[in-house]
Symmetry: C2
Subunit: 212 residues, 2 copies
Protein backbone atom coordinates (compact mmCIF):
# COMPACT_ATOMS: atom_id res chain seq x y z
CA UNK A 1 0.00 0.00 0.00
CA UNK A 2 1.37 3.37 -1.08
CA UNK A 3 1.27 6.10 1.56
CA UNK A 4 -0.87 9.12 0.85
CA UNK A 5 2.16 11.34 0.43
CA UNK A 6 5.90 10.92 -0.08
CA UNK A 7 8.23 13.35 1.65
CA UNK A 8 11.81 13.59 0.43
CA UNK A 9 14.99 14.93 1.91
CA UNK A 10 16.76 17.22 -0.59
CA UNK A 11 20.57 17.25 -0.31
CA UNK A 12 22.08 13.88 -1.18
CA UNK A 13 18.65 12.29 -1.66
CA UNK A 14 17.14 14.09 -4.67
CA UNK A 15 20.09 16.38 -5.39
CA UNK A 16 23.64 15.18 -5.96
CA UNK A 17 26.12 17.36 -4.10
CA UNK A 18 28.99 16.08 -6.26
CA UNK A 19 29.27 19.40 -8.12
CA UNK A 20 30.19 21.11 -4.85
CA UNK A 21 33.11 18.71 -4.43
CA UNK A 22 34.15 19.28 -8.05
CA UNK A 23 34.20 23.05 -7.53
CA UNK A 24 36.24 22.60 -4.32
CA UNK A 25 38.74 20.63 -6.39
CA UNK A 26 38.91 23.30 -9.08
CA UNK A 27 39.55 25.99 -6.43
CA UNK A 28 42.20 23.96 -4.56
CA UNK A 29 43.58 21.17 -6.76
CA UNK A 30 44.36 18.02 -4.81
CA UNK A 31 42.33 19.19 -1.79
CA UNK A 32 38.77 19.02 -3.14
CA UNK A 33 37.74 15.68 -1.70
CA UNK A 34 39.20 16.39 1.75
CA UNK A 35 37.68 19.86 1.88
CA UNK A 36 34.23 18.84 0.72
CA UNK A 37 34.11 15.97 3.24
CA UNK A 38 35.15 18.19 6.13
CA UNK A 39 32.77 20.93 4.97
CA UNK A 40 29.81 18.53 4.88
CA UNK A 41 30.71 17.02 8.27
CA UNK A 42 31.01 20.46 9.91
CA UNK A 43 27.83 21.68 8.21
CA UNK A 44 25.89 18.85 9.84
CA UNK A 45 27.66 19.18 13.21
CA UNK A 46 26.79 22.85 13.33
CA UNK A 47 23.11 22.12 12.62
CA UNK A 48 23.01 19.70 15.55
CA UNK A 49 25.06 21.84 17.92
CA UNK A 50 23.16 25.05 17.16
CA UNK A 51 19.84 23.23 17.54
CA UNK A 52 20.88 21.96 20.97
CA UNK A 53 22.29 25.37 21.93
CA UNK A 54 18.96 26.92 20.86
CA UNK A 55 20.97 29.24 18.59
CA UNK A 56 19.43 28.59 15.21
CA UNK A 57 20.70 30.40 12.13
CA UNK A 58 19.60 29.59 8.55
CA UNK A 59 21.22 26.66 6.79
CA UNK A 60 22.86 29.02 4.30
CA UNK A 61 24.68 30.69 7.21
CA UNK A 62 25.65 27.36 8.78
CA UNK A 63 26.99 26.28 5.39
CA UNK A 64 29.14 29.42 5.04
CA UNK A 65 30.43 29.09 8.60
CA UNK A 66 31.30 25.43 8.04
CA UNK A 67 33.19 26.33 4.85
CA UNK A 68 35.18 29.06 6.62
CA UNK A 69 36.09 26.66 9.43
CA UNK A 70 37.05 23.89 7.02
CA UNK A 71 39.29 26.13 4.90
CA UNK A 72 41.05 27.41 8.02
CA UNK A 73 41.59 23.84 9.24
CA UNK A 74 43.14 22.81 5.92
CA UNK A 75 45.04 26.13 5.63
CA UNK A 76 43.33 27.05 2.37
CA UNK A 77 42.85 30.73 1.67
CA UNK A 78 39.19 31.46 0.90
CA UNK A 79 38.33 34.58 -1.08
CA UNK A 80 34.88 36.15 -1.09
CA UNK A 81 34.55 35.19 -4.77
CA UNK A 82 35.36 31.54 -3.97
CA UNK A 83 32.85 31.52 -1.08
CA UNK A 84 30.15 32.94 -3.35
CA UNK A 85 31.02 30.54 -6.15
CA UNK A 86 30.79 27.54 -3.84
CA UNK A 87 27.55 28.75 -2.28
CA UNK A 88 26.19 29.30 -5.78
CA UNK A 89 26.61 25.58 -6.46
CA UNK A 90 23.99 24.91 -3.79
CA UNK A 91 21.27 26.51 -5.91
CA UNK A 92 22.31 24.62 -9.06
CA UNK A 93 22.79 21.04 -7.91
CA UNK A 94 22.01 18.26 -10.38
CA UNK A 95 19.20 15.82 -9.68
CA UNK A 96 20.18 12.16 -9.46
CA UNK A 97 19.40 10.63 -12.87
CA UNK A 98 16.37 8.59 -11.72
CA UNK A 99 14.64 11.39 -9.79
CA UNK A 100 12.51 13.17 -12.41
CA UNK A 101 10.97 10.01 -13.88
CA UNK A 102 10.44 8.45 -10.43
CA UNK A 103 8.56 11.48 -9.16
CA UNK A 104 6.53 11.68 -12.36
CA UNK A 105 5.52 8.03 -11.99
CA UNK A 106 4.48 8.48 -8.35
CA UNK A 107 0.80 9.34 -8.24
CA UNK A 108 0.77 10.33 -4.54
CA UNK A 109 1.37 13.83 -3.26
CA UNK A 110 5.07 14.70 -3.08
CA UNK A 111 6.98 17.16 -0.94
CA UNK A 112 10.50 18.10 0.10
CA UNK A 113 11.34 18.43 3.81
CA UNK A 114 14.77 19.98 4.14
CA UNK A 115 17.18 21.67 6.52
CA UNK A 116 17.80 24.10 3.64
CA UNK A 117 16.69 27.65 4.27
CA UNK A 118 14.32 29.18 1.68
CA UNK A 119 17.04 31.50 0.32
CA UNK A 120 18.93 28.50 -1.11
CA UNK A 121 16.27 25.76 -1.18
CA UNK A 122 13.62 27.52 -3.27
CA UNK A 123 15.98 28.60 -6.10
CA UNK A 124 17.41 25.05 -6.16
CA UNK A 125 13.99 23.46 -6.62
CA UNK A 126 13.01 26.03 -9.23
CA UNK A 127 16.26 25.65 -11.19
CA UNK A 128 15.89 21.87 -11.22
CA UNK A 129 12.37 22.02 -12.67
CA UNK A 130 11.01 19.54 -10.13
CA UNK A 131 7.21 19.58 -9.66
CA UNK A 132 6.16 19.17 -6.02
CA UNK A 133 3.08 19.76 -3.91
CA UNK A 134 5.11 21.42 -1.14
CA UNK A 135 8.65 22.51 -0.37
CA UNK A 136 8.96 22.54 3.41
CA UNK A 137 11.93 24.09 5.20
CA UNK A 138 12.79 23.69 8.88
CA UNK A 139 13.44 27.43 8.86
CA UNK A 140 10.04 28.35 10.28
CA UNK A 141 10.69 26.14 13.32
CA UNK A 142 14.22 27.42 13.96
CA UNK A 143 15.51 23.92 14.68
CA UNK A 144 17.15 21.34 12.42
CA UNK A 145 16.66 17.61 11.78
CA UNK A 146 16.32 15.13 13.46
CA UNK A 147 14.12 17.01 16.00
CA UNK A 148 10.64 15.43 15.97
CA UNK A 149 8.90 18.77 15.42
CA UNK A 150 10.58 18.92 12.00
CA UNK A 151 8.87 15.71 10.86
CA UNK A 152 5.65 16.86 12.50
CA UNK A 153 5.82 19.98 10.32
CA UNK A 154 5.34 17.79 7.25
CA UNK A 155 2.21 16.28 8.82
CA UNK A 156 0.82 19.76 9.49
CA UNK A 157 1.64 21.07 6.03
CA UNK A 158 0.31 18.02 4.16
CA UNK A 159 -2.62 17.40 6.54
CA UNK A 160 -1.93 13.67 6.68
CA UNK A 161 0.00 11.28 8.90
CA UNK A 162 0.15 8.66 6.16
CA UNK A 163 3.58 9.68 4.94
CA UNK A 164 6.45 7.72 3.39
CA UNK A 165 9.68 9.50 4.23
CA UNK A 166 12.68 9.10 1.95
CA UNK A 167 16.26 10.08 2.79
CA UNK A 168 19.77 9.02 1.90
CA UNK A 169 21.00 10.29 5.27
CA UNK A 170 20.56 7.37 7.63
CA UNK A 171 20.28 9.51 10.77
CA UNK A 172 17.55 11.57 9.04
CA UNK A 173 15.68 8.40 8.04
CA UNK A 174 15.92 7.14 11.64
CA UNK A 175 14.82 10.49 13.04
CA UNK A 176 11.73 10.21 10.84
CA UNK A 177 11.23 6.61 11.97
CA UNK A 178 11.50 7.68 15.63
CA UNK A 179 8.81 10.29 14.93
CA UNK A 180 6.57 7.64 13.41
CA UNK A 181 6.89 7.75 9.62
CA UNK A 182 7.24 4.82 7.29
CA UNK A 183 10.83 5.19 6.21
CA UNK A 184 12.82 4.44 3.07
CA UNK A 185 16.58 4.77 3.41
CA UNK A 186 18.35 5.31 0.09
CA UNK A 187 21.71 3.65 0.66
CA UNK A 188 23.54 4.36 -2.60
CA UNK A 189 26.97 3.85 -1.02
CA UNK A 190 26.32 0.58 0.83
CA UNK A 191 26.96 2.16 4.24
CA UNK A 192 26.22 0.50 7.60
CA UNK A 193 23.01 1.45 9.42
CA UNK A 194 23.49 4.06 12.10
CA UNK A 195 22.98 2.78 15.66
CA UNK A 196 20.25 5.09 16.90
CA UNK A 197 17.73 2.59 18.21
CA UNK A 198 15.62 2.36 15.03
CA UNK A 199 15.71 0.61 11.66
CA UNK A 200 14.45 1.88 8.31
CA UNK A 201 11.37 0.05 6.98
CA UNK A 202 13.05 -0.39 3.61
CA UNK A 203 16.59 0.04 2.33
CA UNK A 204 16.87 0.98 -1.35
CA UNK A 205 19.80 1.33 -3.75
CA UNK A 206 18.19 4.18 -5.65
CA UNK A 207 15.09 6.36 -5.61
CA UNK A 208 13.35 4.42 -8.42
CA UNK A 209 13.00 1.40 -6.11
CA UNK A 210 10.20 3.16 -4.22
CA UNK A 211 8.05 2.35 -7.29
CA UNK A 212 8.56 -1.40 -6.87
CA UNK B 1 39.30 37.70 39.51
CA UNK B 2 38.93 33.97 39.97
CA UNK B 3 35.40 32.61 39.63
CA UNK B 4 33.85 30.98 42.67
CA UNK B 5 34.00 27.55 41.07
CA UNK B 6 35.73 25.90 38.14
CA UNK B 7 33.81 23.32 36.15
CA UNK B 8 35.75 20.98 33.86
CA UNK B 9 34.82 18.79 30.96
CA UNK B 10 36.26 15.28 31.43
CA UNK B 11 37.16 13.46 28.19
CA UNK B 12 39.96 15.21 26.31
CA UNK B 13 40.12 18.03 28.87
CA UNK B 14 41.27 16.38 32.12
CA UNK B 15 41.59 12.84 30.76
CA UNK B 16 43.70 11.90 27.76
CA UNK B 17 41.85 9.48 25.50
CA UNK B 18 45.10 8.44 23.79
CA UNK B 19 45.09 5.02 25.47
CA UNK B 20 41.82 4.20 23.69
CA UNK B 21 43.51 4.83 20.34
CA UNK B 22 46.50 2.74 21.42
CA UNK B 23 44.25 -0.18 22.30
CA UNK B 24 42.44 0.15 18.95
CA UNK B 25 45.83 -0.10 17.27
CA UNK B 26 46.79 -3.18 19.27
CA UNK B 27 43.47 -4.86 18.31
CA UNK B 28 43.73 -3.93 14.60
CA UNK B 29 47.31 -3.05 13.67
CA UNK B 30 47.50 -0.24 11.10
CA UNK B 31 43.85 0.74 11.68
CA UNK B 32 43.98 2.20 15.20
CA UNK B 33 44.13 5.89 14.29
CA UNK B 34 41.39 5.66 11.66
CA UNK B 35 39.12 3.61 13.92
CA UNK B 36 39.55 5.79 17.00
CA UNK B 37 38.88 8.97 14.97
CA UNK B 38 35.72 7.54 13.42
CA UNK B 39 34.61 6.13 16.78
CA UNK B 40 35.00 9.51 18.50
CA UNK B 41 33.24 11.33 15.65
CA UNK B 42 30.29 8.90 15.70
CA UNK B 43 30.13 8.94 19.49
CA UNK B 44 29.61 12.71 19.42
CA UNK B 45 27.22 12.61 16.45
CA UNK B 46 25.05 10.09 18.24
CA UNK B 47 24.92 12.28 21.38
CA UNK B 48 23.67 15.22 19.30
CA UNK B 49 21.29 13.20 17.15
CA UNK B 50 19.77 11.29 20.05
CA UNK B 51 19.37 14.50 22.03
CA UNK B 52 17.49 16.09 19.12
CA UNK B 53 15.43 12.92 18.57
CA UNK B 54 14.58 12.95 22.30
CA UNK B 55 15.87 9.38 22.47
CA UNK B 56 18.53 9.61 25.15
CA UNK B 57 20.54 6.58 26.17
CA UNK B 58 23.54 6.67 28.55
CA UNK B 59 26.91 7.69 27.14
CA UNK B 60 28.27 4.21 27.73
CA UNK B 61 25.59 2.85 25.36
CA UNK B 62 26.24 5.57 22.77
CA UNK B 63 29.94 4.73 22.96
CA UNK B 64 29.32 1.01 22.37
CA UNK B 65 26.94 1.76 19.49
CA UNK B 66 29.45 4.13 17.89
CA UNK B 67 32.19 1.48 18.16
CA UNK B 68 30.00 -1.17 16.54
CA UNK B 69 29.14 1.20 13.70
CA UNK B 70 32.76 2.23 13.20
CA UNK B 71 34.06 -1.34 13.09
CA UNK B 72 31.39 -2.26 10.55
CA UNK B 73 32.32 0.75 8.40
CA UNK B 74 35.99 -0.22 8.42
CA UNK B 75 35.17 -3.93 8.02
CA UNK B 76 36.88 -4.87 11.29
CA UNK B 77 35.49 -7.83 13.17
CA UNK B 78 34.69 -6.86 16.75
CA UNK B 79 34.53 -9.59 19.39
CA UNK B 80 32.76 -9.18 22.71
CA UNK B 81 36.14 -9.36 24.45
CA UNK B 82 37.50 -6.54 22.27
CA UNK B 83 34.42 -4.41 22.93
CA UNK B 84 34.77 -4.95 26.68
CA UNK B 85 38.51 -4.29 26.57
CA UNK B 86 38.02 -1.02 24.70
CA UNK B 87 35.18 0.09 26.98
CA UNK B 88 37.37 -0.78 29.96
CA UNK B 89 39.89 1.83 28.79
CA UNK B 90 37.25 4.49 29.44
CA UNK B 91 37.40 3.86 33.18
CA UNK B 92 41.20 3.90 33.26
CA UNK B 93 42.18 6.94 31.19
CA UNK B 94 45.32 8.82 32.17
CA UNK B 95 45.11 12.40 33.39
CA UNK B 96 47.03 14.96 31.34
CA UNK B 97 50.34 15.53 33.16
CA UNK B 98 49.51 19.04 34.44
CA UNK B 99 46.03 18.20 35.79
CA UNK B 100 46.68 17.01 39.35
CA UNK B 101 48.99 19.88 40.35
CA UNK B 102 46.76 22.47 38.62
CA UNK B 103 43.68 21.32 40.49
CA UNK B 104 45.60 21.16 43.77
CA UNK B 105 46.79 24.73 43.28
CA UNK B 106 43.29 26.03 42.51
CA UNK B 107 41.69 27.17 45.74
CA UNK B 108 38.16 27.51 44.30
CA UNK B 109 35.57 24.78 44.28
CA UNK B 110 36.08 22.32 41.42
CA UNK B 111 33.69 20.03 39.59
CA UNK B 112 33.41 17.85 36.50
CA UNK B 113 30.46 18.33 34.12
CA UNK B 114 30.44 15.48 31.63
CA UNK B 115 28.39 13.66 29.03
CA UNK B 116 29.73 10.51 30.67
CA UNK B 117 27.16 8.34 32.38
CA UNK B 118 27.80 7.46 36.04
CA UNK B 119 28.59 3.82 35.19
CA UNK B 120 31.79 4.87 33.40
CA UNK B 121 32.41 8.38 34.76
CA UNK B 122 32.48 7.61 38.48
CA UNK B 123 34.97 4.70 38.25
CA UNK B 124 37.18 6.85 36.02
CA UNK B 125 37.32 9.69 38.53
CA UNK B 126 37.89 7.27 41.39
CA UNK B 127 40.65 5.38 39.57
CA UNK B 128 42.44 8.62 38.73
CA UNK B 129 42.49 9.80 42.35
CA UNK B 130 41.26 13.27 41.45
CA UNK B 131 39.72 15.26 44.34
CA UNK B 132 36.63 17.21 43.33
CA UNK B 133 33.69 18.90 45.02
CA UNK B 134 31.21 17.41 42.54
CA UNK B 135 31.08 15.02 39.60
CA UNK B 136 28.07 16.02 37.53
CA UNK B 137 26.71 13.85 34.72
CA UNK B 138 24.15 14.90 32.11
CA UNK B 139 22.52 11.55 32.76
CA UNK B 140 19.90 12.89 35.16
CA UNK B 141 18.69 15.33 32.47
CA UNK B 142 18.59 12.74 29.66
CA UNK B 143 20.09 15.18 27.17
CA UNK B 144 23.69 15.78 26.11
CA UNK B 145 25.91 18.85 25.68
CA UNK B 146 25.64 21.56 24.36
CA UNK B 147 22.00 21.89 25.52
CA UNK B 148 21.76 24.89 27.90
CA UNK B 149 20.06 22.86 30.62
CA UNK B 150 23.29 20.85 30.95
CA UNK B 151 25.29 23.94 31.90
CA UNK B 152 22.43 25.10 34.10
CA UNK B 153 22.73 21.80 36.00
CA UNK B 154 26.18 22.87 37.18
CA UNK B 155 24.70 26.13 38.52
CA UNK B 156 22.04 24.19 40.41
CA UNK B 157 24.48 21.63 41.83
CA UNK B 158 27.11 24.19 42.86
CA UNK B 159 24.61 26.87 43.92
CA UNK B 160 26.52 29.63 42.14
CA UNK B 161 26.45 31.30 38.73
CA UNK B 162 30.02 32.52 39.12
CA UNK B 163 31.55 29.62 37.21
CA UNK B 164 34.62 29.32 35.02
CA UNK B 165 34.01 26.53 32.50
CA UNK B 166 36.98 24.68 31.02
CA UNK B 167 36.85 22.39 27.99
CA UNK B 168 39.14 21.24 25.21
CA UNK B 169 36.11 20.65 22.98
CA UNK B 170 35.51 23.98 21.29
CA UNK B 171 31.79 23.34 20.67
CA UNK B 172 31.39 22.49 24.39
CA UNK B 173 33.19 25.68 25.42
CA UNK B 174 30.95 27.69 23.08
CA UNK B 175 27.82 25.96 24.35
CA UNK B 176 28.85 27.01 27.87
CA UNK B 177 29.55 30.54 26.61
CA UNK B 178 26.12 30.65 24.96
CA UNK B 179 24.60 29.64 28.31
CA UNK B 180 26.49 32.45 30.07
CA UNK B 181 29.63 31.01 31.65
CA UNK B 182 33.10 32.48 31.59
CA UNK B 183 34.85 30.10 29.27
CA UNK B 184 38.38 28.75 28.93
CA UNK B 185 39.05 26.74 25.77
CA UNK B 186 42.04 24.39 26.11
CA UNK B 187 43.37 24.28 22.56
CA UNK B 188 46.23 21.79 22.85
CA UNK B 189 46.19 21.00 19.13
CA UNK B 190 46.11 24.56 17.75
CA UNK B 191 42.72 24.00 16.08
CA UNK B 192 40.57 26.77 14.55
CA UNK B 193 37.67 28.14 16.59
CA UNK B 194 34.32 26.62 15.72
CA UNK B 195 31.89 29.02 14.02
CA UNK B 196 28.93 28.87 16.39
CA UNK B 197 28.35 32.56 17.02
CA UNK B 198 30.43 32.78 20.21
CA UNK B 199 34.09 33.11 21.22
CA UNK B 200 35.83 31.65 24.27
CA UNK B 201 36.91 34.25 26.86
CA UNK B 202 40.39 32.74 26.98
CA UNK B 203 42.27 30.24 24.83
CA UNK B 204 44.91 28.20 26.67
CA UNK B 205 47.58 25.73 25.53
CA UNK B 206 47.24 23.60 28.66
CA UNK B 207 45.23 23.38 31.85
CA UNK B 208 47.96 24.94 34.02
CA UNK B 209 47.46 28.29 32.26
CA UNK B 210 44.23 28.81 34.19
CA UNK B 211 46.48 29.56 37.18
CA UNK B 212 48.15 32.51 35.39
Amino acid sequence: MRPEAFVFDAYGTLYDVHSVAARCESCWPGKGAQLSQLWRAKQLEYTWQRSLMQRYVPFSTVTREALAYSCETLKLELSVAQMEGLMGEYTNLALYPEVTRTLQALKTRKAILSNGSPDILLPLVQNSGLKLDAVISVDELKIFKPAPQVYELAVKKLQTKDIGFVSSNCWDALGAKSYGFDVYWINRGNAPIDRLGFKPDRILKGLDEILL
